[in-house]
């Protein structure tokens, strides 16, 4: 380990390379390549490996030279004349789009001196409306991932694009043009892109005999299949939750992981903004197996196995039919629904019928196609179709079809595929395990994989080609409702990578061409010939083409087809296994440290994917948290770890997909368990007939919240809508604390001049999606600390989502049927801040605008402030978490926020850098900061718009008005610490006939007073 980068820089570039190559052969260098964050970040405490990492940091600097194309040298010219609008140090904002499966998110990207540093939703774009989700927020880190593939590889040896183009042109292109693509096949991810669709059409024209398969491990495929059964065509369902009065979610996590969660959350939350007792509220019924955040928002949650959701839907349809709603295609399916709660089903049906066109029934993407077909018929029968649910024509979309992969694998095994082009994805890792994609791949002569990582598939292919990130390449998209937009790059490709468009163009034409030209060519026809440049610039500026959403249509359900599709199902028996999307989505974000460290919204587990089961199931199988179990399913088995998730359906196991990577990157490797090992073609989401057995071993899991009960403390307050509406001074549960009058001992600072910043968080809107946490991490340069540190309770998130379970006191079954409340918790900026008075060096002080400011330079790290913080929102740099950042990772950092060193305390600042920026701008223009001009990162990202921030000294500001709503309360207000953040109490809207657990709890609690 004595090897160091030679410092004699007199050698020529070539020799320098050679020495690097030599270094690259050392095991230490390979270690560097294979680990993501410096050892130190993920496994603090091993000083030897950290030091060795530092030695190797030299290599990474050299590597930057090797990568070569971080910035095209020939284009960098010192400004002689400053380009328009570029002010050094001032960020610029550009609109772009993030492709995501068959849809896309419209985004705005902040660019600091030429590098994108933060992504936000585009307020003009219907897919985000200014909000975001965790994947959007974390995408920026994916761009600067040092583990992304950096150059093409041929059979595991470094190569370059020229070599690949030569190979393709000389050996494949002409031959396939001549034989019309015989033996050529493409396996692609799904897309919704006019240019990709055009190129795909051209591909099919050039190579008519070629095969094209589209595969996604997790997608809305079942939903599309169901709609296809019901209507005979492909439609993209678009839900308008803002118009909904009654929602029935059948195993659907429409707020968390399924469909367009951002727009769904926005619409749903808009029906929950109760500002006075005149306002109404939607009612959400959820029937699901694993406890999702959608279930957490439910007014009534019905816990049942995913396999029982289909019969449950039939029972609801039956009941609706009985109540006079004619459902086409429902037919005479006989299902034993006797074990379902008949009152529940009757009440849901009544509510849905009453809501009529304002009802939504939505099925989860894990439910089989026939459930979706039935749901289509129900929505149609309720007249919801066309108002709350729209079915948009799919244009320019290549939607996933699992069957195509099966056919492709069969062809590969039969030897009829000679060349396979894989665009994105990692099928060796995530294709159905029974297809044995990996072994089929070995029977194909030429396998070419375009992929961001040198992943499992790439390593088995003859060619691996690096794929660009969407922030560094041109492209275009259609969003959920068909809205067109351009994917505008913010930076030149960091590595030698090419986009899907450039790759497919190359396949079609045999020459490498710029993606920019291909996209513009498509848009020539989209925008029409005249005035193209202007129209193009408008599209780039806006991030979308206005009024380009596709037309919704409302075809009648084909009753016969639906009836045929419905399988007469019996309630499933035995142990069921379900597969769900995780914080890594399907594994594509596995190397993203922000997402790995992000605690799961419900279980609060970070850095792992435990098998989730209910309390009763755990008892039945004699297992407990952190026990290792062997899951047997259809002749396959998997050893994994168990975590008890209160509220999970009994006899059901949830497995999260996307973990257990081995050679993907330094973050992903060795995290969690590869659950794809149990996932087969026939049963991708729900599999009955499993078995679980304790192995006797245990496995350590890292959770950010150990305790789920509020212990009867008035932390999250809630009441029912009925109670709220019926009284001028509504009663909240838990009861407001009784305390003596809060009399100060001295004259307090009045804080009544100038700006006085404050925040209101509406607990009735907050869906617990975690977007704020990642947004804050991105905006405020919050380090990733790794599993060991999270286990130690040292996670650094400035805003966390507290999740409390509520259940009927004294009910032993309470653990199985809890309600959930979420509470975003960050520094409350107390006016009488307990942290300030105990700091011996005045490192945390109050400013005159009411901010509790943290002076990093002055902090000596006594940690007394944290001890005295009743909300425990302060975070301490126990180690130098940022010391070993790879060079490229530093590009993610927000230049307006200090990167903290070891030994100092940090915490939420209300995004003081944004406040200062707005104040400076306003002062320059001789005005005051307008309301809404400053958005904190959490507020901006919140898809539900649950967070309001502004000047509470201005009675007209949104935040001041929100504080006047009579649901407003402050946590621990009885201590007279005067927090500036207040919360709006949560409301539930239970159906009067179904007992509301909150009310019951209230009564029980009161009897003890």
């Amino acid at each position: 380990m004595k090897k160091r980068i030679p410092m004699t820089i007199k050698t020529t570039g070539k020799e320098y390379w050679r020495s690097l190559d030599q270094l690259a052969e050392t095991p230490q260098y390979r270690e560097f390549l294979h680990r993501e964050f410096p050892e130190g970040a993920s496994e603090m405490g091993n000083e030897w490996s950290r030091r060795s990492f530092l030695t190797l940091m030299g290599a990474s600097i050299a590597l930057a030279g090797l990568a070569g194309c971080r910035r095209p040298v020939e284009k960098i010219v010192p400004y002689v004349e400053r380009p328009e609008e570029v002010i050094p140090g001032e960020p610029l904002t550009f609109a772009t789009n993030m492709p995501f499966g068959t849809a896309a998110y419209g985004l705005l990207s902040r660019s600091n001196d030429g590098r994108p540093t933060k992504l936000e939703g585009n307020p003009e774009h219907p897919s985000t409306l200014g909000g975001a989700n965790v994947f959007i927020q974390a995408a920026i880190l994916g761009l600067y991932d040092p583990d992304r593939s950096q150059q093409p590889m041929q059979k595991g040896v470094k190569s370059d694009w020229d070599a690949f183009v030569d190979f393709y042109r000389s050996q494949l292109h002409q031959r396939y043009l001549d034989n019309k693509g015989e033996g050529l096949a493409v396996l692609s991810e799904s897309f919704a892109s006019p240019t990709m669709a055009r190129l795909k059409a051209a591909f099919e024209k050039n190579f008519p005999r070629a095969r094209w398969a589209t595969y996604e491990p997790i997608s809305e495929e079942n939903s599309y299949d169901g709609i296809e059964i019901a209507t005979g065509r492909d439609y993209q369902p678009v839900y308008h939750f803002d118009k909904a009065k009654t929602i029935l979610a059948l195993d659907s996590d429409f707020l968390g992981r399924e469909g367009n969660t951002v727009a769904n959350a926005r619409g749903f939350a808009s029906t929950r903004k109760v500002e006075s007792k005149k306002d109404g509220m939607s009612r959400l019924y959820v029937a699901e197996s694993s406890y999702t955040i959608t279930g957490g928002m439910a007014d009534h949650r019905y816990r049942l196995k995913s396999g029982d959701v289909g019969p449950f839907a039939i029972a609801v349809a039956k009941e609706l039919q009985k109540q006079g709603v004619r459902i086409d295609g429902y037919g005479d399916v006989t299902v034993d629904g006797s074990h379902f709660d008949s009152t529940w089903i009757r009440v849901v049906a009544e509510d849905l019928r009453a809501a009529g066109a304002n009802a939504i029934v939505i099925a989860g993407h894990g439910q089989p196609a026939w459930v979706h077909a039935l749901v289509y018929a129900i929505n149609h029968a309720l007249n919801a179709s066309g108002t709350t649910v729209e079915y948009h024509e799919m244009r320019d979309v290549s939607r996933p079809r699992r069957a195509q992969v099966k056919d492709l694998v069969a062809a590969m095994n039969a030897g009829s595929v000679e060349t396979l082009l894989i665009i994105g994805g990692d099928p060796v890792y995530n294709a159905p395990v029974d297809l044995s994609f990996g072994s089929a791949l070995g029977k194909v002569k030429n396998t070419i994989h375009l992929s961001a990582y040198n992943d499992d598939t790439s390593r088995q292919c003859t060619w691996h080609l690096p794929r660009t990130h969407f922030l560094e390449s041109w492209g275009d998209v259609r969003s959920f409702d068909g809205t067109l937009g351009v994917v505008q790059p913010l930076i030149e490709p960091l590595f030698a990578s090419r986009s899907d468009i450039e790759f497919l163009s190359l396949i079609n034409s045999g020459t490498l061409s710029a993606g920019y030209d291909a996209v513009r060519e498509t848009w020539q026809s989209v925008l029409g010939g005249g005035g193209f440049e202007n129209a193009w610039r408008v599209v780039l500026h806006d991030g979308l083409l206005k009024d380009s959403a596709s037309k919704p249509s409302k075809p009648n359900p084909r009753s016969g087809e639906i009836a045929r599709a419905i399988r007469p199902v019996k309630a499933s028996e035995g142990l069921e296994v379900t597969f769900k999307s995780s914080n890594t989505f399907d594994g594509r974000f596995a190397n993203n440290g922000w997402l790995q460290e992000l605690p799961d919204a419900m279980t609060k587990l970070a850095w792992d994917n435990a098998a989730l089961i209910s309390q009763s199931t755990a008892k039945k199988f004699g297992v407990n948290n952190e026990d290792m179990v062997r899951l047997d399913l259809g002749g396959r088995s998997l050893e994994t770890v168990v975590w008890i998730s209160p509220g999970h359906a009994d006899d059901s196991v949830t497995l999260l997909l996307g973990y257990g990577r081995e050679k993907l990157g330094r973050v992903a490797d060795g995290v969690g368990f590869n659950t794809y090992a149990l996932r087969t073609f026939d049963a991708p989401y729900i599999v009955p007939g499993g078995n679980m057995q304790r192995t006797g071993g245990t496995y350590e899991l890292a959770t950010t919240q150990d305790h789920g009960s509020m212990e009867g403390r008035p932390i999250v307050r809630e009441t029912t809508l009925a109670e709220y509406q019926s009284s001028d001074t509504p009663h909240f549960y838990p009861d407001k604390p009784h305390h003596p009058p809060l009399v100060p001992l001295w004259d307090e600072h009045s804080y009544d001049e100038g700006y006085q910043w404050g925040m209101v968080i509406d607990l009735n809107s907050c869906i617990g999606c975690n977007a704020c946490t990642v947004a804050c991490q991105s905006e405020n340069n919050i380090p990733i600390v790794g599993k060991e540190q999270v286990r130690h309770g040292r996670e650094m998130h400035w805003i966390r989502l507290d999740r409390y379970y509520a259940s009927e006191p004294g009910n032993p079954a309470g653990m199985d049927e809890p309600e959930t409340v979420f509470q975003p918790m960050a520094c409350q900026h107390c006016e009488n801040a307990p942290c300030e008075s105990v700091c011996p060096v005045a490192a945390t002080v109050h400013d005159k605008e009411g901010l509790n400011v943290m002076v990093y330079n002055r902090c000596i790290g006594t940690r007394y402030c944290s001890n005295n913080c009743p909300y425990k929102v302060r975070r301490f740099n126990f180690f130098n978490y940022t010391k070993d950042y790879p060079e490229i990772y530093k590009m993610t950092q927000n230049p307006d926020v200090t990167v903290r060193s070891r030994g100092v305390m940090e915490k939420c600042t209300y995004c003081i850098q944004r406040i200062s920026h707005a104040k400076i701008g306003a002062k320059a223009q001789g005005r005051t900061v307008a309301d809404g001009e400053i958005q904190t990162a959490c507020q901006q990202a919140c898809p539900a718009k649950a967070i309001t921030f502004g000047n509470i000294n201005d009675p007209e500001s949104a935040v001041a008005k929100a504080k006047k709503i009579n649901r407003d309360y402050r946590v621990l207000e009885e201590y007279n610490i005067k927090p500036r953040t207040s919360y709006l109490a949560r409301l539930r809207n239970p159906h009067p006939e179904l007992a509301a657990p909150v009310e019951r709890a209230e009564k029980t609690e009161h009897s003890t007073h």
Partner: protein, 449 residues
């Protein structure tokens, strides 16, 4: 009524001088070398753990959020507490004319100093950025920044440093006549010079004695409030905060009582050993030990009273957070520590109701060890109130790492090193004072005849 003599065995002035001085004058023994070797190796452990801590960061300890203070603070309070006995014995008992104190005050004071030195390590190293820890002191600087005077940590800095300074002066002033005695007996040149300088030209003249006793009295007067203030101020580190289980007005007296309790226990532990090894049974008699046992019985009950009073107030206040904290102490995840504390600090001293046990050296030795352990756990239990405070979402469990343990064990190494040096080179009994309580020094028997 005739008091039992404080010093037994028909001691004369000369025999006292001889017995005590010989301990400091004899040749270095192999046992002593072995002991100090062991102690010094523990000092190395201490230095090593501190070095690693400074190199890597506070994260090498088991701390987290919410438990941002752990063993370091526990150890600090533990050592400061031990450092209470010496000054109490020297100053307060002096003012109260408790003459029996003369046999034990010298090494009790030395122990105080060494304990405070050990204590001072911890607040120094427990900050996140040790290289700027000097900002805690009101040093004029280019930033024009003062410390924040409202913080109890700053009060701590002043309280403990003043206590240390005054204790050191007090101890040294008391040493002067004895050092002069040693000087007069010195045979080698080096000893003569060193002791000559150290004894500040003491000749034992009348005027010197008068000045000396005045100075001693003044210092005793100065030290007396400090004995009470130091641990009161240390207790404000907790009491001034709003953490349930910390925020309570009983803390200052409760901490002082606890400190005296633990200090006496440590004096006893060491005293019993020293007495045995150096055959000082005639000077530190069973009567002395019995008196100290009585004080421990008293302070132990005061501590026990404080424990129960805390529970009562937690219930009586009607504050749910306080009430929860105390129930949680007794039955929560740290219940084991709580019951160790109660057993050692409240139950064990009850044996001293019996005179037989009060005068049984072996039993009392074991009991003092238990009390030392119990008092460490008391501080641990208090600090661990952090683990479960207001919002259950942030609750967590703290467990120490090997580095926490190494630092604590190492601090004992430092303590014993200093103590071994002390018993090797200094008169461990205040000869002059002991002579003052011999019958020969008071031919008129204090006017009792």
């Amino acid at each position: 009524m005739v008091d039992e003599p404080l010093i037994t065995g028909n001691q004369t002035f000369h025999s006292i001088t001889d017995t005590v001085s010989k301990i400091a004058e004899r040749k270095t023994t192999v046992t002593w070398l072995a002991l100090i070797g062991m102690a010094l190796s523990l000092v190395l452990v201490l230095l090593g753990s501190i070095g690693y801590l400074v190199w890597e960061g506070i994260g090498v300890w088991g701390l987290n959020i919410p438990v941002a203070w752990g063993w370091a603070i526990v150890n600090f309070v533990f050592w400061v507490g031990i450092g209470h006995a010496g000054t109490l014995i020297s100053a307060i008992l002096h003012l109260f004319r408790q003459q029996w104190r003369t046999s034990i005050n010298r090494f009790a004071e030395a122990m105080t100093l060494f304990a405070v030195i050990c204590a001072l390590i911890f607040p120094g190293i427990h900050v996140g950025r040790i290289w700027v820890a000097y900002w805690l002191f009101p040093v004029p600087n280019q930033m024009q920044m003062w410390p924040q005077f409202r913080s109890p940590l700053l009060w701590d800095v002043f309280a403990v440093s003043v206590y240390f300074t005054v204790s050191l002066m007090f101890w040294y002033v008391g040493l002067i006549p004895d050092l002069a005695t040693l000087r007069d007996r010195a045979k080698t040149k080096v000893r003569k010079i060193v002791l000559g300088i150290a004894s500040l030209g003491w000749r034992g003249g009348n005027r010197q004695w008068i000045n000396y006793e005045r100075a001693y009295l003044v210092l005793a007067g100065l030290s007396t409030p400090l004995v009470l203030s130091v641990h009161s101020v240390v207790s404000t580190d907790f009491a001034v905060s709003m953490v349930p289980g910390w925020h309570t007005t009983i803390f200052p007296p409760y901490f002082v009582a606890g400190a005296i309790f633990s200090g006496f226990a440590m004096v006893m532990t060491l005293g019993i050993i020293v007495r045995k090894i150096f055959k000082l049974e005639h000077i530190i008699t069973l009567n002395h030990l019995e008196k100290m046992n009585k004080i421990m019985l008293l302070t132990g009950m005061m501590v026990g009273y404080a424990y129960s009073c805390e529970f009562f107030i937690a219930w009586y206040s009607g504050n749910t957070y306080e009430a929860f904290t105390f129930v949680n102490r007794a039955f929560g995840p740290y219940a084991w520590a709580y019951w160790i504390m109660v057993s050692c600090n409240v139950l064990v001293p009850q044996i001293f109701w019996f005179k037989k046990i009060r005068r049984n050296v072996a039993v009392m030795f074991v009991a003092t060890i238990f009390i030392n352990i119990g008092m460490w756990f008391e501080r641990f239990v208090i600090v661990m109130s952090l683990a479960r405070d207001f919002l259950p979402s942030s609750w967590d469990y703290y467990s120490p790492t090997i580095w926490d343990v190494a630092t604590f064990v190492g601090s004992f190494g430092l303590f014993f090193t200093l103590f071994l040096l002390f018993i090797r080179f200094f008169p461990i009994i205040a000869m002059a004072e002991v002579k003052g309580v011999l019958p020969q020094a008071d031919p008129h028997h204090g006017g009792k005849h």
